[in-house]
């Protein structure tokens, strides 16, 4: 499905935004089980796209297509095209490590490494060959500022990241992704382990990050998708349990005037 809108939920002019990620008739199989069927959509650059749908419809599987995380699952097989900036990312020539640097990921549960706040952020850049302490210090500070965490941890950089609150840990994980200067940030239920205030802080952070990054978020929390995203995609399972794309469009339209009855039924709580 193509973007055909003018103004999104958050006043972003989506139609003029270029496509960052694209799937073309993509299907995903885990062995003989088909998890996703024939999904085509275009995800705009520097905007937030939410993937919503009932449990088990393949939202997370769909998200993981974009940094080839499904490669790690035995028997996983992708058919169709997935592109980043027009380049097919399932091509044999693609360096997956480099891809995952460009397409970062934040997970459901905050997963800081058992090391200091500083080392958590410096970890990625070090892996990519940056060892100059001055440069690393700059990266750590910049990333923490970008993740709206600096003010809360500037005097705790040497302390264990495990001592931070859940919301702070999740923002630390976002800072850790930002430290390697990605272009796309995939978020898989990033707030489901957080309290409401920490959730709203992450949502505000996402909005400010969307100025410079392409964000794709999977959430089972429809209200969150409505609040935070510019575009929304609604996935659901067909009878054989394969996930299909039912509707894709500007969030403000999808949540006020969905075109497909199945979307209407889902967002009004009639099923799911």
């Amino acid at each position: 499905m193509k973007m055909n809108t003018v103004l999104s939920n958050n006043n972003k002019v989506i139609s003029q935004s270029k496509t960052k990620l694209r799937t073309e008739a993509v299907s995903l199989y885990y062995g003989s089980f088909q998890a996703l069927r024939n999904i085509s959509l275009e995800i705009p650059d520097r905007a937030i796209t939410a993937i919503i749908g009932p449990s088990g419809c393949g939202k997370s599987s769909f998200l993981r297509l974009f940094n080839r995380m499904n490669d790690l699952i035995a028997g996983a097989r992708v058919e169709g095209g997935v592109e980043l900036d027009g380049i097919p990312i399932y091509d044999k020539t693609i360096d997956v490590v480099e891809l995952r640097k460009r397409v970062g990921m934040v997970f459901q549960k905050p997963n800081p490494f058992p090391m200091s706040v500083f080392e958590n952020i410096a970890f990625g850049p070090r892996r990519h060959g940056k060892n100059n302490v001055g440069e690393l210090t700059d990266i750590v500070e910049r990333s923490l500022h970008q993740a709206a965490l600096w003010d809360e941890v500037e005097d705790k950089l040497g302390q264990s990241a495990l001592a931070l609150s859940g919301g702070q840990q999740q923002r630390l994980c976002i800072a850790r992704v930002l430290a390697v200067e990605p272009e796309v940030i995939l978020m898989d239920e990033p707030c489901s382990a957080l309290d409401p205030v920490a959730t709203l802080k992450i949502e505000d952070l996402m909005r400010s990050l969307a100025e410079n990054y392409t964000i794709v978020i999977v959430t089972h929390n429809m209200q969150q998708a409505a609040r935070v995203s510019d575009m929304s995609a609604f996935l659901m399972m067909e009878e054989d349990r394969a996930g299909v794309l039912v509707e894709y469009g500007p969030t403000s339209e999808l949540f006020t005037n969905p075109k497909d009855k199945r979307t209407e039924d889902y967002i009004t709580g009639r099923f799911g």
Partner: protein, 222 residues
């Protein structure tokens, strides 16, 4: 760190739209009285055409409110603010309709000679505009006291209406040939009286927004 920045930014934008709509309607009301005083039919036609813009603005604000409710799930005072705006824009739009009504009366009057110099009717219009303007300031400032004060000022408009009515009644009693012209002026005054009542409804909504209580704040005489 302020949270829900997107929501608050959009709510401010909606409030700015309400102010813009308010000034469109204030202008319509004062133009309608100018058209009446000057027998300016072009101006009257212009007011009627502009009313479409006012109606469009109202739909536009309403749509933004619906989107904000659907996407941001506002609660408590945030929810009341949107409900308040939805009610207020209906009232503002109706005040615009009253101005349009006056413009239509101006067209009906055409080039008939004036019955008398207009004094109280323009005063009514000025008072209506003053009340509307301050009520929207009270909305922005979340000021229930000012809103209640404005409601009490509706009596001034009612008294002016009484005065206009009595005066025109005398004209009609003395010379039945003036009945048509006098009746039309009474219609004009009635439109303005209704506009002031609409402002009191706006004020009731502002009190609801601030206090969370829905209350009738003083029934109009008419």
């Amino acid at each position: 760190m302020e949270i829900r920045t997107v929501f608050h930014k959009k709510l401010r934008e909606i409030q700015d739209d309400v102010l813009a709509m308010g000034s469109m309607v204030e202008k319509a009301t004062s133009y309608s009285i100018e058209a009446l005083k000057e027998r300016d039919l072009d101006k009257a036609h212009e007011i009627i055409a502009n009313d479409l813009q006012i109606n469009k603005k109202r739909f536009n604000i309403e749509e933004k409110c619906v989107q904000l409710i659907a996407t941001q799930q506002p609660m408590a005072s945030d929810l009341r603010a949107i409900i308040c705006v939805l009610n207020i824009i209906t009232e503002i739009e109706r005040i615009g309709d009253h101005a349009e009504g006056i413009a239509k009366i101006v067209i009906m009057i055409g080039d008939e000679p004036p019955l008398k110099p207009l004094i109280d009717i323009p005063r009514m219009a000025e008072k209506v505009n003053d009340m509307l303007h301050r009520s929207l300031d009270a909305l922005i400032n979340r000021d229930a006291d000012v809103a209640k004060q404005i409601v009490s000022e509706d009596d001034e408009v009612d008294n002016l209406y009484d005065q206009v009515f009595r005066e025109l009644l005398v004209f009609m009693a003395e010379d039945p040939k003036t009945i048509t012209r006098a009746t039309r002026l009474i219609w004009v005054a009635h439109n303005l009286e209704r506009s002031a009542d609409r402002v009191t409804n706006i004020c009731e909504r502002i009190v609801y927004l601030v206090t969370g209580k829905m209350e009738e704040l003083g029934a109009s005489k008419y």
